[in-house]
Subunit: 328 residues, 2 copies
């Protein structure tokens, strides 16, 4: 069956179902939430009454999205929907408490773009070439003949924007751009959405950035930048651990830096270490030396010991990696 | 005459000229440089021998652009080109030393997108709806039947990317996105270009960000963030004044902040003050109280006095602005 046939089947099934639930994974990101809202708003425009289900907290930065008022908490559901549309979810387990709905539903529809998708649905449309699930929802909305408005467009734009890192990641295709362009003609304000999604930081996170930058030290003729965050700094900034995300980029983005390291104090004598590389260094190999792993340009590990010894070991392994490249 | 007729005229003129120079404004930005290079590479593919003229320093972040090796310094020119193509230049004075070439050229072709363009050319194509001059060069290259390759595409992509702030500014249109999408199919790596253009900072600028964040103080129930940079901090970070650019965004981007202020010490008792607002405050009015000005969401002024007194005056005027809004 071609993708076109599957999507037609899905559209027909949704239109003829007695009740349709729409859900996404726990710890939802922008693509997940915005895809749920876009499909919900779209089906409502078609005169349907889908139940958009909230199975986890929506991060504050997505509070501006249209359609959030249509969300029903999982605990408040009166009945199991006949059809459950699962969005952006590679694995049914990622529905958390929502898993039960999938087992009780007559039909599970699986719309996703993750290569690891387990094809858990009765109808599966998994397009790994799509940069965002929002792109698949866009196709479905189009196919169902739904007249898109600025609210639906804003959701779809947000979905694509977040999963492409602002059209920056290499998953961005001409389709992502073509859809984004059309959504702008429908009234989406790129500046406003970007500001909401990317350009907002808590005060504590901002303070933590300042403190972490202050610790940056440069080694290996400017090729290595090491940043350090201890528990005292987190406390001073009023930060929680999740605010450590993205911090390492301030070290990686320094001109001439090839490998950036963030050493995070977990407890006395225990450190979590994050690595990023820019061009040619496989940091997963460096992390591997310490029992960790990851990807070529982003990896991590946990190391026990005193800070000075840990830093020394890390710098040695990074230097080894540079030497291997130069055949020394 | 329609735009289509003008662009055909321009294409014909360039093809039949004995010699063609291509130039842009001094202090060139990404759109300016990349447009010059795209057109140069394009014309070379057509078998022409345009002279790409460098009349100012190319900022380091554009050092990755293909075609830079074709640039000739203004001082090294042997003869005046018969036809001079001026790109991204609202005003002929902005050519700096290059102005002379325009007076000596048989034909000046003016390709630009600035609303303030003075129509200084013999042939003018000023499309104020274009987000970047790169979009106009794209049209010209297409019209001339030039087979685009990944090098030309990378230049055009960079032009659009920089002048739309990463497809973020409200000048971004469906055309910007459609062109960007096509350029990606030609092999442009969005991630790589973004990293070169946006995600690279000097060590001194990074250090300055850390120091400036450390000074942030919050007032008016979280609505006002004040940041401070003195000469000592610049010195400590090893920064020059131009590295102050963008610093204020770390204050503006804090959740809940409406007005951000950056106080820069110029000399004893003299301060330059920058303002940014997020939603409803007209900061040009606040700057105006101190003899400055600007736009609604970005303004500046110079204030003399002691730091404590200056800060107090600023906070009073900002509070007045909030009160005016609430009708107090």
């Amino acid at each position: 069956m071609t993708k076109g046939m599957i999507i037609s089947d899905i559209a027909r099934h949704i239109s003829s179902s007695k009740s349709v639930g729409i859900i996404t994974h726990i710890m939802p990101d922008g693509d997940a939430i915005a895809s749920v809202l876009a499909l919900t708003l779209g089906l409502r425009k078609k005169g349907l009454h889908p139940i958009a289900i909230r199975n986890d907290v929506i991060p504050k930065e997505y509070g501006f999205l249209p359609g959030l008022n249509h969300l029903t908490d999982l605990d408040d559901l009166h009945e199991y929907p006949e059809t459950l549309v699962v969005l952006d979810c590679g694995d049914i387990e990622r529905l958390g408490q929502g898993c039960e709905l999938a087992t009780k539903a007559g039909t599970v529809i699986n719309l996703d773009h993750h290569i690891s998708n387990t094809m858990f649905g009765n109808l599966n449309l998994v397009d790994t070439g799509a940069a965002a699930t929002g792109e698949i929802v866009y196709q479905l909305i189009k196919l169902m003949g739904i007249d898109m408005d600025v609210d639906i467009a804003t959701c779809l734009y947000t979905a694509i924007l977040t999963d492409t890192g602002g059209f920056k990641y290499d998953n961005t295709t001409w389709i992502s751009h073509t859809i984004a362009g059309e959504l702008i003609t429908l009234g989406v304000k790129p500046n406003l959405v970007s500001q909401m999604v990317f350009d907002t930081r808590t005060l504590s996170k901002t303070k933590l950035i300042g403190k972490a930058i202050d610790t940056i030290k440069i080694y290996h003729d400017g090729k290595t930048a090491v940043m350090y965050v201890d528990r005292h700094m987190l406390e001073q900034a009023g930060s929680s651990r999740d605010e450590l995300e993205g911090l390492i980029n301030f070290a990686r983005d320094i001109q001439g830096v090839e490998v950036a390291v963030l050493i995070k104090e977990v407890s006395d004598q225990q450190f979590k270490v994050g690595f990023r590389s820019k061009e040619y260094t496989d940091v997963s190999r460096i992390a591997g030396v310490f029992g960790g792993g990851g990807h070529k340009k982003a990896a991590g590990c946990t190391i026990n010991g005193g800070l000075t010894a840990v830093r020394k070991k890390l710098l040695e392994e990074i230097e080894n990696a540079y030497n291997r490249r130069e055949g020394i």
